[in-house]
C-alpha cells in the first residue's frame, strides 16, 4: 500500500522522469552559439541551449609569429571597396524582406560559356556572379564566366593558368581572390584582368589553402597538416590589401586530425571563425594571429551533433547545429521535401556581425577530407549539405537532391523553396547576391553515366524572392510556382465601419457534435464542409469519411496512418483532400491525397502529391481556384500570393486537374510592412475582387492565413488567432460593409467555419457554435407557422401577436430541454425578435426569429415575414428542426 508520503515522493521522482523525457524529447534542431565580439569567449551560454554547450572553453594565448620574408613581385591587389549598390535586380536593402524569402520564382539561366562542372567557386560582385574553376570528372578547369542578372546574360572572363581549381575564393569588394595550393590570383572584373598573389613561404607546412575568409581589408587563408600523434597543426596566413607578402602566423596544435580547416568566415570585427568539425570551432584574430576556441557544441543526452555551420541571422553570428538521435544511422537518402522541424528554434545571441554579401566556401566533414564536399546539416531528420550564406541570408541545400530552404531571419523559420529548374546535385557553385540565390553546375553522381565518368551539370538557376521580382529579360524565366491569380492592384472603395465586439454568452448556441470519434492522445478527428455546408468528418479509427448527418459513409480504399491523416478540404467534383503522413516518415512532412466521395470511384484515391505538406503546424493550406496553396507561417503582404506554392491542384474524379469557381478569401496588406495597419484588408475574390473590408483594429495580429469561409449571403467569416495574447476572434464581414466580431475564449479552438457558424473544440468536445447574428438569415415564415401549428395566427396588436407566438413556441414537446422563448425587443414598431431554444438528446435548436408584423386591417395583426437566424442541429434522436 502506498502511503501519503510515498505519493509525494513519487511525484518528486516522476518530475525527474519528466525532466529526463523532456531532455530526450527536445525537438530543437537549430541552436545559436553565443559569441562575444571579444576574442575571448565568455563562459557559457546566456540561456539554456537546447543543444547544450560545453562551457569550459578558455582563451589560449598564442605567440605571434610573423615571417620576415620579402617578395619582389608587385601585387596589384586593389583596395577593397564596398559592393556595388547598382545591382538593379537585387534588393539592396540591408535586411531581407520580412516574410517573402521563400516566396518567389526560379529563373532558368541561359546556357553559360562554361562546360558543365562541379566544385566551381562563385562570388557575387554586386553586379555579376563570377564562376571560376571546378572539375568535370577528368580535369581541373581553369576558366570562368560571369552572369549578369540584369541582362540575363553571360560573358567569358580571362583565363588564368595560375589560378588553379580554386579551393576557396573570397570577394574583397573589388576583386575575386582565388586561393589554390600555396598561392592564388586576384581577378578584377572592371578590367577583366588577373594578378598573381605572392606565394607562401617555406615555413608554411600546410597542404595549401583549404579555406579562406575576407574581413576588414585582410584575406585570411587556412590550411593544416596531420601529425602521427593524432593531432593536427593548423596554419593561418593573412594578406592585407595593398601588401605584397603574406603574414604567416604561428601554427596551432589541435587535438584530432583535421586534414584541412573546414570552413572559415570573416566577421565585421575583423576576426575569422573557423569550423573544424561539428563540435569544434575556433576564432582567429588576424591582427595578433591568435587562435581561441569557441565553446564546444555538445548534444544533450540522447542526441549527437553531426554538423555545425556558422551563418548570420538577424545580422548576428549564429551556429546552425544539426542533431540526430544517438545510435541512429545517418540517413542515406535525401529527404523528399525540405520542411521545417516542429520547432526550428533560432536563438540569436552575441553581437558579432557578418559582412554583407559574404560568400562562404563550403567544406565537408563527412569523409574526413578537406575537399569541397559540404557539411551535413540535419533538419527535421533530413539532410542539408550546404549552407549558402550571403549578407544576412542563409540558404540551405539538401544533399544530392536539388532542394533548397531559406532561413528567414525575421521570423527565425526555415522554409522550403520549390525545386529549381536546373539539376545541381552535389557541390554546385552557389552563393547569395542580395536576397537572391545563385546556383550553377554541380555533381549529379555517377549512376547514370559510364563507369569512370562523372555526370556534371551545366544548369543554372537563380532564386528571386518575391520582393525582388522584376521582369526577366529574354530569354524568359521559368517559374515553378504560382497559383492564385494576382490580386488586382486597383483598390476598390473600402467600406469602412467601426467594428463592434459582441459579448455574448455562447452557451445557448453551442451544440455537441455527436457521433464523432473521441480524440486520442495526439490527434483528433478532422472536419470539413462541402460547398452546400454539409459536414464531412474523417474518422481516423475506421479510415472512412462520413458525409452529412445521418452520415453516408465512404470507406477509404487504402489504409492511411491513424493519427497522421487529416481531412483538409472538400474540393470540386465531390472530392475530399486529406494530408497523410506515411508511417515510415519521421519528418513532419506529409502527402496530399484526393479521395472520391461519390460515384463508382467513391473511396478511391484518385490523385496524390507526395511530400508536399509541412505538418509542423506552422503553415496553412488555403483553398484557391487552382487548388490547395501553402501559406507560410508568417505570410507576406498577400495571403495567398501568386508566389505561394500550389501544393495540389483540384482534380476531378479521373484525377485530371480542374479549377474551382467558388469564391475565396485573401488577405492583403501594404507591400512595405508586415505590421498590421489600416491598409490591411480582407478581400472576397470571385473571379476578380468582389469586395474588401479593412481588418478591424481589434485584431492584434495573425500569422499565416486565418481560417475563413465564404457564406452564401456574400459575407466572409474569419477566425483570428492572436499570436501574442493567445486569444481568438471571430469576425464576419458583411456585404453592407459592416463587420461583426466576437471574442472567443482561449479554452476553445475554432476548427472550422461555414455558413452556419463555427465548429469549435474545447479539448474534449466538438461543438457546432452558431450565434444568431453570425448566421445566415433564412426565410422562416413557413417553418414558423408550421411549428406553431396555427397558419393564420392573428392578434389585435403587435405586442399581443408576439406574445401569442412566444406562448406557442413554449409549448412542451417532451424533451428534457423544454422549449424556451423570449422577446428580445419591443414589438411596438411592427418588428420583433424572438430568441428560441429547445433540445432533445443530441438534437436541438437555438435561433432568433426576426419578425415583420403588419396590420391587415380592422385592427388585425399578422406575420408579414419571418427570418430565422441561428442553428438547428438534428441529431440521431429525431426530427426537431423547424
Amino acid at each position: 500500500m502506498t502511503t501519503p508520503n510515498d505519493l509525494e515522493r513519487r511525484l518528486r521522482d516522476y518530475a525527474q522522469i519528466l525532466d529526463r523525457a523532456a531532455d530526450a524529447h527536445d525537438p530543437s534542431l537549430v541552436t545559436m552559439v553565443e559569441l562575444s565580439p571579444a576574442a575571448a569567449p565568455r563562459r557559457g551560454p546566456r540561456v539554456r541551449l537546447i543543444a547544450g554547450l560545453a562551457l569550459g572553453a578558455s582563451l589560449v594565448g598564442m605567440v605571434v609569429f610573423v615571417a620576415s620574408r620579402s617578395d619582389d613581385r608587385k601585387v596589384t591587389l586593389l583596395p577593397g571597396v564596398p559592393p556595388s549598390s547598382a545591382a538593379p535586380v537585387v534588393s539592396t536593402s540591408p535586411a531581407p524582406p520580412a516574410s517573402s524569402l521563400a516566396k518567389g520564382t526560379w529563373r532558368t539561366l541561359p546556357p553559360s560559356p562554361l562546360s558543365p562542372r562541379a566544385a566551381a567557386v562563385v562570388v557575387w560582385t554586386g553586379q555579376e556572379y563570377i564562376v571560376w574553376g571546378g572539375r568535370d570528372g577528368t580535369a581541373i578547369l581553369q576558366d570562368g564566366a560571369a552572369y549578369d542578372p540584369t541582362t540575363n546574360s553571360w560573358r567569358s572572363i580571362s583565363p588564368n593558368q595560375s589560378a588553379d581549381q580554386g579551393s576557396t575564393v573570397v570577394w574583397t569588394g573589388s576583386q575575386m581572390v582565388v586561393l589554390a595550393d600555396r598561392s592564388g590570383a586576384a581577378y578584377d572584373p572592371a578590367t577583366d584582368t588577373w594578378a598573381a598573389l605572392p606565394s607562401l613561404s617555406a615555413r608554411w607546412l600546410g597542404q595549401g589553402f583549404t579555406s579562406a575568409a575576407y574581413s576588414d581589408g585582410v584575406i585570411a587563408g587556412f590550411g593544416a597538416t596531420l601529425n602521427s600523434d593524432r593531432t593536427s597543426t593548423l596554419f593561418a596566413a593573412t594578406l592585407r590589401i595593398g601588401d605584397t607578402e603574406w603574414t604567416e602566423h604561428a601554427p596551432r596544435q589541435q587535438a584530432g586530425w583535421w586534414p584541412g580547416l573546414q570552413r572559415a568566415v570573416g566577421l565585421n570585427d575583423g576576426t575569422v571563425i573557423v569550423r573544424l568539425d561539428p563540435t569544434t570551432t575556433l576564432r582567429f584574430d588576424p591582427p595578433i594571429g591568435a587562435w581561441s576556441p569557441l565553446p564546444d557544441v555538445a548534444a544533450p543526452d540522447g542526441w549527437e551533433v553531426h554538423s555545425t555551420v556558422f551563418t548570420s541571422l538577424n545580422g548576428k553570428l549564429a551556429a546552425i547545429v544539426g542533431l540526430r538521435r544517438s545510435g541512429t544511422p545517418m540517413p542515406t537518402t535525401p529527404p523528399t521535401t525540405v520542411a521545417p522541424a516542429p520547432s526550428n528554434v533560432v536563438r540569436v545571441v552575441g553581437d558579432a556581425t557578418l559582412p554583407e554579401d559574404l560568400a562562404m566556401s563550403l567544406a565537408t566533414f563527412e569523409d574526413g577530407t578537406a575537399r569541397l564536399s559540404p557539411p551535413v546539416i540535419g533538419l527535421a531528420g533530413g539532410l542539408f549539405s550546404e549552407a549558402i550564406v550571403g549578407g544576412k541570408l542563409t540558404y540551405l541545400h539538401a544533399r544530392s537532391s536539388d532542394e533548397f530552404a531559406v532561413i528567414d531571419p525575421s521570423s527565425a523559420t526555415i522554409s522550403a523553396l520549390p525545386l529549381p529548374p536546373g539539376r545541381h546535385g552535389l557541390e554546385p557553385a552557389a552563393t547569395v547576391g542580395g536576397n537572391q540565390l545563385f546556383v550553377w553546375g554541380g555533381d549529379l553522381g555517377e549512376s547514370a553515366v559510364p563507369e569512370g565518368d562523372t555526370n556534371v551539370s551545366g544548369d543554372g538557376s537563380l532564386w528571386i524572392p518575391a520582393g525582388d521580382q522584376q521582369p526577366t529579360p529574354a530569354p524568359a524565366a521559368t517559374t515553378t510556382s504560382s497559383v492564385p491569380p494576382a490580386l488586382p492592384t486597383t483598390a476598390p472603395v473600402v467600406i469602412a465601419d467601426e467594428s463592434r465586439v459582441l459579448e455574448i454568452d455562447i452557451a445557448p448556441w453551442a451544440f455537441d457534435l455527436e457521433g464523432i470519434d473521441a480524440c486520442e492522445p495526439g490527434f483528433c478527428p478532422s472536419l470539413a464542409t462541402m460547398a452546400d455546408g454539409t459536414l464531412v468528418v474523417y474518422r481516423y479509427a475506421r479510415n472512412e469519411l462520413t458525409i452529412g448527418d445521418p452520415g453516408r459513409v465512404v470507406p477509404i480504399a487504402e489504409p492511411l496512418a491513424a493519427g497522421r491523416t487529416w481531412l483538409v478540404a472538400i474540393g470540386p467534383d465531390d472530392l475530399a483532400y486529406l494530408s497523410t503522413q506515411p508511417s515510415s516518415e519521421s519528418d513532419p512532412v506529409g502527402d496530399l491525397i484526393a479521395v472520391s466521395l461519390s460515384g463508382d470511384t467513391a473511396g478511391e484515391i484518385v490523385a496524390r502529391r507526395d511530400g508536399v505538406v509541412g505538418l509542423s503546424g506552422d503553415s496553412d493550406l488555403v483553398a484557391t481556384p487552382g487548388g490547395l496553396v501553402g501559406v507560410g507561417c508568417c505570410g507576406g503582404n498577400e495571403r495567398p500570393s501568386p508566389q505561394d506554392l500550389l501544393l495540389m491542384p483540384w482534380v476531378d474524379r479521373t484525377g485530371a486537374p480542374i479549377t474551382s469557381e467558388l469564391p475565396w478569401v485573401a488577405v492583403r496588406g501594404p507591400s512595405n510592412t508586415s505590421e498590421l495597419n489600416d491598409e490591411w484588408a480582407v478581400i472576397l475574390m470571385d473571379g476578380g475582387e468582389r469586395q474588401r473590408w479593412p481588418i478591424p483594429r481589434s485584431v492584434n495580429g495573425f500569422r499565416g492565413m486565418p481560417l475563413s469561409a465564404v457564406r452564401s449571403d456574400g459575407s466572409v467569416a474569419l477566425a483570428w488567432s492572436d499570436p501574442i495574447e493567445g486569444t481568438q476572434r471571430l469576425s464576419v464581414f458583411k456585404p453592407d460593409g459592416t463587420i461583426e466580431e466576437i471574442a472567443v475564449g482561449t479554452e476553445r479552438s475554432i476548427v472550422l467555419l461555414d455558413g452556419l457558424g463555427a465548429i469549435t473544440f474545447d479539448g474534449s468536445r466538438f461543438q457546432r457554435w452558431s450565434l444568431p447574428t453570425f448566421s445566415e438569415p433564412v426565410d422562416a415564415l413557413d417553418t414558423l407557422t408550421r411549428e406553431l401549428g396555427r397558419p393564420e395566427l392573428t392578434a389585435t396588436s403587435p405586442g399581443a401577436l408576439v406574445a401569442e407566438i412566444v406562448d406557442a413556441l413554449r409549448q412542451p414537446d417532451g424533451c428534457e430541454l423544454p422549449p424556451s422563448a423570449r422577446v428580445v425587443d419591443d414589438a411596438s414598431d411592427g418588428t420583433a425578435t424572438i430568441e428560441y431554444r429547445y433540445g432533445c438528446d443530441d438534437s436541438g435548436a437555438g435561433m432568433n426569429f426576426e419578425l415583420l408584423l403588419t396590420e391587415q386591417g380592422s385592427g388585425t395583426w399578422i406575420i408579414e415575414s419571418a427570418t430565422q437566424r441561428g442553428l438547428c442541429w438534428r441529431g440521431a434522436s429525431g426530427e426537431f428542426c423547424v
Binding site: 528554434v345 487529416w566 503546424g617 479539448g763
Partner: protein
C-alpha cells in the same frame, strides 16, 4: 549576462517544466521551444513585464493550438516500464492518473510537489489566484490518492 537575460534564463527552465507537465514531453517541448523563440525575439519587451512566465505560458498555448494538438490528455512517460496492475501488490502507475487530471490541476500538483514551486509561482504561471492553486493541488492530490488507492 544582463539581468534581463538572467531572468529569461530562469523563465526558460521554469516554463519547460510547466509545459511538459501540461502537455507531456512531446508537445510540451515543442511549445516551450516556440515560446522561447518568441521570448528571444521580444526579450526587451519581456524584460518590462512583471509576469513573463505567465505571458510565455500563453504564447506556448497558442503554439500548441496552432499545431492542432487538441488532445486534452497528455502523453506522459510511464513511471515505471510496463507498470503492472496493483492486484499483484505493486502500486498503480502514476502517469495515467496524472494524465486524467484536469490540465491546470496536473500542472499545479506537479509543479508544487514535483518541482517544489510555491503556490504563488504556480498562480503567476496560470494567471489565477493563489487560493485557486491551493484548491487545484488539494483536489489533484485527493484524486490521485483515490485513483492510486493511497490513504488520505
Amino acid at each position: 549576462m544582463t539581468s534581463s537575460e538572467d531572468a529569461l534564463a530562469t523563465t526558460d527552465a521554469k516554463l519547460r517544466r510547466a509545459l511538459v507537465a501540461r502537455y507531456g514531453p512531446d508537445v510540451g517541448c515543442e511549445a516551450h521551444a516556440a515560446a522561447m523563440a518568441y521570448a528571444w525575439e521580444h526579450r526587451a519587451r519581456l524584460a518590462g513585464m512583471t509576469n513573463p512566465v505567465g505571458y510565455l505560458w500563453r504564447v506556448a498555448q497558442t503554439s500548441v493550438r496552432r499545431q492542432r494538438r487538441w488532445d486534452r490528455h497528455p502523453v506522459l512517460p510511464p513511471e515505471r516500464p510496463a507498470a503492472p496492475a496493483d492486484d499483484l501488490g505493486v502500486p498503480r502507475d502514476l502517469a495515467p492518473a496524472l494524465a486524467r487530471l484536469k490540465p491546470d490541476v496536473r500542472v499545479a500538483v506537479l509543479m508544487v510537489h514535483g518541482h517544489d514551486w510555491s503556490y504563488a509561482e504556480v498562480a503567476e504561471l496560470l494567471g489565477v489566484p493563489v487560493s485557486t492553486v491551493r484548491n487545484h493541488v488539494h483536489r489533484g492530490l485527493t484524486r490521485l490518492r483515490r485513483t492510486l488507492e493511497v490513504p488520505s
